[in-house]
Amino acid sequence: MSGGESERLGPLSARQWAFVLAAITAVAIADDLLRIPVQVSDALEEILVASRSPSALASFWRATFNAAYFRPFRIAQIKLLFDLADGHYWLAYRGFHALLLVVFVLLFTRALRVRTATDLVAAAFGLAVLTGLHTFRTLIQEAFPINHFLEIAVLALGTLVLAQGPRRLWTDGVAVLLFVVAALTLESGVLIWVVAVSAWTFGLRGISARGLAAMTLLLGGYFYLRFVTLSVGMPTLAERSSGYLFEVLEPAQLQERFGDRIWWLRAYNVGSSILSVFFSEPRSGLFAITRSWKEHQVIPFQVIAVVSSAITTGFILAAVPKAWRALRRTPAAADGDGTGALVGIAGAVIVASAVLSFAYTKDDIMSTAGAFYAVAAYAAVRGAAGALRNRGRATAAGLTALLFIASATWMSRSLGIHHVASAAAFKTRNDWGLQPGQWAREGRWPSQADERRLLERLRAEALAMPAPNPKFDWPWADRVWGD
């Protein structure tokens, strides 16, 4: 079988089977998404703001010059979907969320470049990691009312696919466009530049040096605009609570403990963000599982999370020498199956995402890193298949057992996403049932008649969507699939 060919497995090629698995995964999860009402917290206010704006362009300009955060394209998108919704807000926002999810899973599968039956099994493993990792959960649970972290992950995977492909006339232009859209959507958008540069460094040259230079110039322009022209500042310690070792510290406690050595907390946030992707611990800076273990109250899902991540990280670490070789030998052909490049790029994205988490740790910020961890897991497990063939019986038996445990635990974590989605639907519908009354009592009910109508419409849409009450869940569901 030559380089670009895909092994035939019955009626379809291995590559086509991989897309069948991706489609099954995406459709099953998108079906869940379409059962969750539009979110209330962090979303309703954005929708009301969109309703007041005359156009998406006006929203873009207002957000560019007036907002505390520099995310103009995010605000413009919310307005654009609001206008397109024509009154069907749930359909517009959740439909877009589901569409993003489908594109996310398909681009991930495209980036794996499946060719053989072995690749196909590794791709199934990668899909389980992608949808089982805790950083994926926030991509499903939350939408503000669009999940922009999911959008950044989609754009990052799109950049990787561009870098893997042959260089075409339009490739650089599309890559630059992806960077501009991402950078103007969220701060995490700068990860697009990281993906492009690390891909080039590890020998994937679909995006040319000229394209990279243009992206680098734009990155410089972004920083200048953000920090010099617009003076959009950094988050301070007073803004939110943060996990630190075994406790969650409130802003006042953070100020008291780290006021004069803030760099220590920043370094802790970066380090704990990296660990959270590789070992599913700590979570948001908090060593929750270690604390549970010390208190003899470990819950099954905690064990499943740490075991699955630790084994998978072990396989990834075993593939690091390949990444090193890929770094030293260019072009990518020297890397054979591309394992080294995928592991190397994933490492760069995970570290860069962690650096972006310096101010506070949050699963959302690490969601793109989580997707690239799944890419690395695919490459590493595919490499382990080679080791199975070449080692002695005892080593092969040990590797097989480890792979089986990893597959089984990731299967459990990935299935848990359906439980998580139904719990998110219950919570959101509950919020719609109770919060409007609270706003009315607090005098926060909109005074404008059209805003009141909009709010009532959104509430009616949410209440009309039945959500299962957790009381009737399987009694073990939360212990195995909870969070």
């Binding site: 199934a124 199975l388 519908r429 109770l434």
Partner: protein, 107 residues
């Protein structure tokens, strides 16, 4: 080529894909596995902290002062209750407030 140990190790992934295929099939058949809805009375919804369902039932005209049957174990020691009794038993002041604002009598 000795590929079978790798495929054996991946068996749980085949189970995962079959499970997802089953989820899609059940959803198309109108019986989504993770979304099975148990119909609740207003008192049960109040007891089970289901503010969304309480709001929907009230909007659909359910009487906040009527007595409703409740499943065993939903409200301790009771087989029927008013929504207000059920919400108080569950310790959910927001639902008590919602019921009072919807015409439930505190007495």
């Amino acid at each position: 080529m000795r590929r079978w140990p790798f495929f054996v190790a991946g068996a749980p992934l085949a189970v995962l894909m079959l499970a997802r295929t089953l989820l899609i099939a059940l959803s198309l058949a109108g019986r989504p596995l993770f979304w099975a809805i148990e119909p609740l009375t207003l008192a049960e919804a109040a007891a089970l902290r289901d503010g969304g369902e309480v709001a929907r039932l009230l909007a659909d005209g359910a009487d906040p002062n009527a007595r409703y049957p409740v499943r065993r174990g939903v409200v301790r020691g009771r087989t029927e209750a008013t929504p207000l009794e059920a919400a108080r038993a569950a310790g959910r002041p927001e639902i008590v407030q919602l019921l009072l604002e919807s015409g439930a009598r505190a007495d």
